[in-house]
């Protein structure tokens, strides 16, 4: 756990409860967590704190002026090192079209699974 303690994970999810619980779980696993509820907030956090952010865990249907797919590619362009874990309530979605190395986790996900994906992305 300690080896990840300086890693910041940005959790981007519109549903407050879903976001809060994901943040709690990641906190329990020793990560520092920032939260965003729309694409604009993700971009402004990346612009400010991007250097410290290792993983973006985002719902693909995040509200905002940008669609989730574009957001993922933009995040990768701003922070080439960023690990991307994408989730969606749309079961038909897959990693197709996402930036290289992205992981996809369909809702309803097991939060323990989610944490281990984040772990794999931070150690990659």
């Amino acid at each position: 756990m300690d080896m990840h303690s300086r890693n910041i994970v940005l959790v981007a999810e519109a549903q407050g409860l879903v976001r809060g619980i994901a943040a709690d779980v990641l906190n329990d696993h020793g990560y520092e967590v920032l939260e965003a509820d729309c694409t604009e907030e993700v971009l402004s956090i990346l612009a400010e704190r991007g250097d410290d952010i290792r993983v973006l865990f985002a719902d693909i249907s995040l509200p905002g002026s940008m669609d989730g797919l574009t957001l993922a590619h933009t995040a990768r362009r701003i922070c080439p090192w960023i690990g991307l874990l994408i989730t969606s309530g749309n079961a038909r979605m897959s990693v197709a079209g996402l930036p290289e190395g992205s992981r996809f986790l369909a809702k309803v996900y097991d939060v323990a699974d989610m944490a281990s994906h984040v772990g794999a992305l931070t150690t990659a």
Partner: protein
């Protein structure tokens, strides 16, 4: 045969020509709107249905140029060049769509087909042009497409909401399990979490299939993978497998079957394999006609023999309720080692009042 140029002027004389008369009669009486044209796109004959459909006076058609018909609404350059190309034999108009715009009328969507008539003994070019009004059909299709799209969007929105709700419940249960002190409470919370995840697995299966029917093989496979991932500590020691035929069932039936599998597997995990005992749990499903059998077999320590240990938990009541709903009997067999619990549905024994066989 009468020469083309004289055709109209000679209409009276043509009465003597039986073949021509027959041709004109056939055209005039066609229920599908159609025109007979010569190579210069002059109208030789029009069906009454054509005149009716496009409000053209029947006695003011023959001998006119196509472009002069009505108030000139048939003067469509692209149609003309297509017809000319058809007349010279280099093209054929098949299902060409155009909009007919008449003053005082809504636009009509027309489907045109034109063909050069080949017949022996005459070097005059003759074209037959059929016109189908597809305005209503196109409009209907557009509305239907819009409705389908709207429904698909609504369904997707609903799936997102359901997924988010289940996500909240599942996450809270698992987070709570991490924080409680009591092992028993923790195992209850884990089981509850698993039940929610099982419903989530079905939800995904339904969303992917886009039908109301669920293929049991991939569904059970995914379900058992989810159960295994969250409830089996070491998959090398304890294996969870599925063996399922190609059965397809209705969504509501699949939910019941999936919850039964969840309960039976949780049960086997809880009671069959104490102290990290190695073994295997297998889920079978087989159907023949309307009869089916769902079994969960384990090679664990077997059923508790003392009545005290056999106190029915939440799982037992869930299984009983679901089997009644599925009109199935519960059969419990001692497999020595282990236990096989089956739900059996046969057409003859459909009355749930027969009760569990065990």
């Amino acid at each position: 045969m009468v020469k083309g140029k004289f055709f109209m002027a000679a209409a009276e004389r043509a009465k003597s020509d039986v073949a021509l008369n027959l041709t004109l009669a056939v055209i005039a009486s066609s229920s599908a709107p159609l025109l007979l044209l010569d190579g210069d796109l002059q109208v030789l004959a029009a069906s009454a249905s054509f005149c009716r459909a496009f409000e053209i006076k029947p006695d003011d058609v023959t001998g006119r140029q196509l472009v002069e018909l009505g108030a000139g609404e048939w003067n469509v350059p692209q149609l003309q060049s297509l017809l000319k190309a058809t007349a010279s034999g280099v093209a054929r108009i098949e299902a060409y769509e155009m909009d007919l715009n008449r003053v005082g009328h809504d636009g009509r969507r027309l489907l045109l087909n034109a063909q050069r008539l080949d017949y022996a003994g005459d070097d005059e070019t003759r074209l037959i042009l059929t016109v189908t009004d597809v305005t209503e059909a196109r409009l209907e299709k557009k509305l239907k497409d819009e409705l389908i799209l709207k429904n698909a969007n609504l369904l997707q929105e609903l799936q997102h909401r359901v997924a988010n709700s289940l996500q909240i419940i599942a996450s809270i249960l698992l987070q709570s399990a991490r924080r409680v002190q009591s092992d028993e409470t923790r195992s209850h919370l884990h089981a509850a979490h698993q039940r929610v995840m099982s419903v989530g697995a079905l939800q995904r299966q339904l969303a992917i299939s886009s039908e109301d029917d669920v293929h049991l093989r991939p569904y059970f496979k995914e379900l058992c993978e989810t159960i295994g991932a969250s409830m089996i500590r070491d998959p090398n020691i304890l294996k969870l497998e599925t063996e399922c035929d190609d059965s397809v069932v209705r969504a509501d039936v699949s939910l019941s079957l999936g919850l039964v599998v969840t309960e039976l597997v949780i049960n086997a995990l809880k009671h069959g394999f104490p102290d990290d005992r190695a073994g295997r749990i297998k889920v079978f499903y087989h159907s023949e006609g309307n009869d089916w059998r769902l079994s969960v077999a384990d090679d664990g320590v077997g059923m508790p023999t003392h009545k005290d240990n056999a106190r029915p938990g939440l799982g037992t009541s869930i299984i009983k309720a679901l089997s009644a709903q599925l009109r199935a009997s519960i059969i419990i067999e001692d497999a020595g080692p282990g236990t096989v619990i089956s739900l059996v549905h046969t057409q003859a024994a459909k009355a749930p009042s027969l009760g569990p066989a065990a």
